[in-house]
């Protein structure tokens, strides 16, 4: 059936009318629609397509003709209503704050000619070229991307140092420049401690500890994980130290890395000694050495923070404080082990932060334990299958083998939950050790996300007639959006023991493991 409506003295642009007709044609049971102005040519067209009707014969060029052919009355009604609505529709409100997002680097710098820094987190295949282009344009670079070749890294850092620019990365997950968080970073008080780190989670932990001691940082420069390897030569680390040396706001310099290549370590130490500022060095796993008045070696990340804080106040370092007395610690150990079954003896560390996992391994090895891992330096302690724990095991769940095709465990907790589900089936597991990292880039509720599984694990152990100890630390500050206090409370609500730093958590877990060993020896 066909019907036509004429709107007298209306004018609409032909394109708009075609668009309207297109929309009306999509209504079910509408066979055809023609919407046009009543000009001679158009009336002929109407005739040709068989939509000419008595009402249209007298239409004038100022009349709008809406002709519809449909199966049912209802369809026709809907068609006309839709057409009318569209014709009377007012212009969409445009959100003026929506800025255009450029596709090319050139367009970006044209839109932001005063840009001074670029954060690059594109797939590794393309990252080096983009970083090179950015450096050539004079931008400081935060290169989050990994899977960039070592050759490219060497070339990029050479270029950056020739131009006097920051090249933070590749594989640099964390930096805080001028108090602003780059990629994964916590909200940290501003202060006088400057940090250069070849470790993302290490940097976050040190910042977190500094903040918890009521002190702040000036700058936190990331260098990427490979900076202190022989071929890269610590180039960015050295530049960072130089910059902090020149920075009037920085009073103390802290350097964090995994143990560097020998000659690189020498260069870094030499550089630190050249600066007139007090420095703290933390090469994770390296036995702390005798320092000097202005150069202190820390035993772990928390100590690095503590030493830096002391130096920034011009005080002596009071030595390790675990914030809990020996007695209090013993009490916790007793409480946690009392309900454990005879056969419970092993530690399982499930870590998202790579450096934190390294630190935990160091803590246990210093206590004489053999620790298996997917990131062990000793080949005989490497897990044959990273997905299967063996005796005392600490895994870095952020390693490639776990994260292929999946988000990093700092962002998504399924990897950790899967591993936890496995561990909870093992009756020999006595203590779980884990890190929870807050801050920008991380999950919005890291502790809440695994609470169910943690509770389940505890329940399973209980059902077997034992008890599972879960020890955790939270890397975060009161300024982080996840709410540090709330996160702590959540963990404690299922019986987790939350310690103030990764070192302390690892130490507590070690004490529990030691207690179980000596119990077993009875």
């Amino acid at each position: 059936m066909k019907k036509v409506i004429i709107q007298k003295n209306a004018y609409y642009d032909s394109v708009f009318l075609m668009l309207t007709a297109k929309a009306v044609k999509q209504i079910p049971d509408v066979k055809d629609t023609i919407i046009l102005m009543g000009t001679e040519v158009n009336l002929e067209i109407l005739e040709n397509v068989g939509m000419s009707m008595p009402e249209t014969k007298n239409a004038t060029p100022n009349d709008l003709i809406i002709a519809v052919e449909g199966e049912t009355d209802a369809a026709l009604e809907e068609a006309f209503q839709t057409a009318r609505d569209l014709l009377h529709k007012r212009q969409r409100q445009v959100d003026e704050t929506d800025e255009y997002r450029p596709a090319s680097f050139e367009a970006a710098v044209r839109m932001a000619p005063d840009a001074n820094l670029i954060t690059i987190s594109v797939p590794g295949t393309y990252a080096a070229r983009e970083a090179r282009r950015a450096l050539d344009h004079g931008l400081h670079v935060m290169l989050f991307s990994d899977n960039v070749s070592l050759e490219d890294e060497v070339e990029l850092k050479k270029r950056a140092s020739e131009k006097g620019l920051l090249m933070m990365g590749p594989d640099c997950g964390t930096a805080i420049i001028n108090g602003k968080p780059l990629c994964f970073a916590n909200v940290v008080r501003q202060g006088t401690i400057g940090i250069v780190a070849a470790s993302g989670s290490g940097l976050q932990e040190v910042c977190s500890c500094i903040d918890s001691l009521g002190v702040g940082i000036s700058q936190a420069i990331g260098t990427g994980g490979r900076d202190l390897q022989a071929r890269v030569g610590g180039r960015m680390m050295l530049m960072g130290i130089e910059a902090l040396q020149n920075d009037p706001k920085t009073k103390v310099i802290v350097v964090i890395s995994k143990p560097p290549a020998e000659e690189v370590a020498r260069k870094v130490i030499a550089k630190l000694k050249e600066t007139e500022k007090p420095c703290v060095v933390q090469f994770i796993g390296q036995m702390p050495q005798e320092g000097s008045e202005l150069l202190w070696y820390a035993g772990d990340l928390e100590e690095a923070a503590g030493m830096a804080v002391a130096l920034s106040k011009g005080e002596g370092y009071p030595g390790r404080t675990l914030f809990l007395s020996e007695a209090a610690l013993d009490e916790i150990v007793e409480r946690e082990t009392r309900g454990m079954a005879r056969n419970q003896r092993y530690l399982r560390g499930l870590y998202a932060g790579g450096t934190l996992a390294d630190e935990a391994i160091v803590v246990f090895e210093r206590g004489g334990f053999e620790v298996h891992s997917n990131v062990q330096t000793k080949p005989e302690r490497m897990l044959r299958d990273p997905h299967v724990s063996r005796k005392h095991t600490i895994v870095d769940l952020g390693e490639d083998v776990f994260t292929v095709g999946r988000p990093h465990p700092m962002i998504d907790f399924s990897i950790r939950e899967e591993r936890l589900a496995k561990e909870m089936e093992d009756p020999e597991v006595a203590v779980i050790l884990a890190d929870f990292i807050l801050g920008y880039g991380s999950h919005e509720d890291p502790c809440g996300a695994v609470l169910g599984t943690l509770g389940q694990a505890k329940q399973k152990a209980e059902d077997r007639g034992g008890y599972l100890a879960i020890v955790a630390s939270i890397v975060g500050t009161e300024g982080d959006f996840q709410d540090l206090e709330d996160q702590r409370k959540k963990l404690e609500s299922v019986g987790c023991v939350v310690m103030r730093s990764n070192y302390q958590a690892a130490m507590l877990a070690r004490k529990i493991t030691e207690a179980l060993e000596s119990r077993g020896a009875d």
Binding site: F105, A112, D114, A115, N116, I120, E130, I177, L238
Partner: protein, 61 residues
């Protein structure tokens, strides 16, 4: 090794003006901290076509 880090120290004294190339979350987080940031709509160059990329690279220097 002589290192001219003037520009780095200059950055420490300036307001950060950031271009974010890649994951939006990083740019959004900077916005939350009141940083001037321009988010890009980055795509692999030449649609990821390796041959074309190697041609483009020959014009880079």
């Amino acid at each position: 090794m002589f290192m001219d880090v003037k520009k780095i120290n200059k950055l420490f004294d300036e307001e950060l003006v950031v271009i974010n190339m890649g994951l939006d979350a990083f740019g959004d987080n900077l916005k939350k901290e009141q940083v001037r940031v321009l988010l890009m709509n980055w795509k692999p160059p030449a649609g990821g076509n390796k041959k074309l990329i190697s041609l483009l690279e020959k014009l880079d220097e």
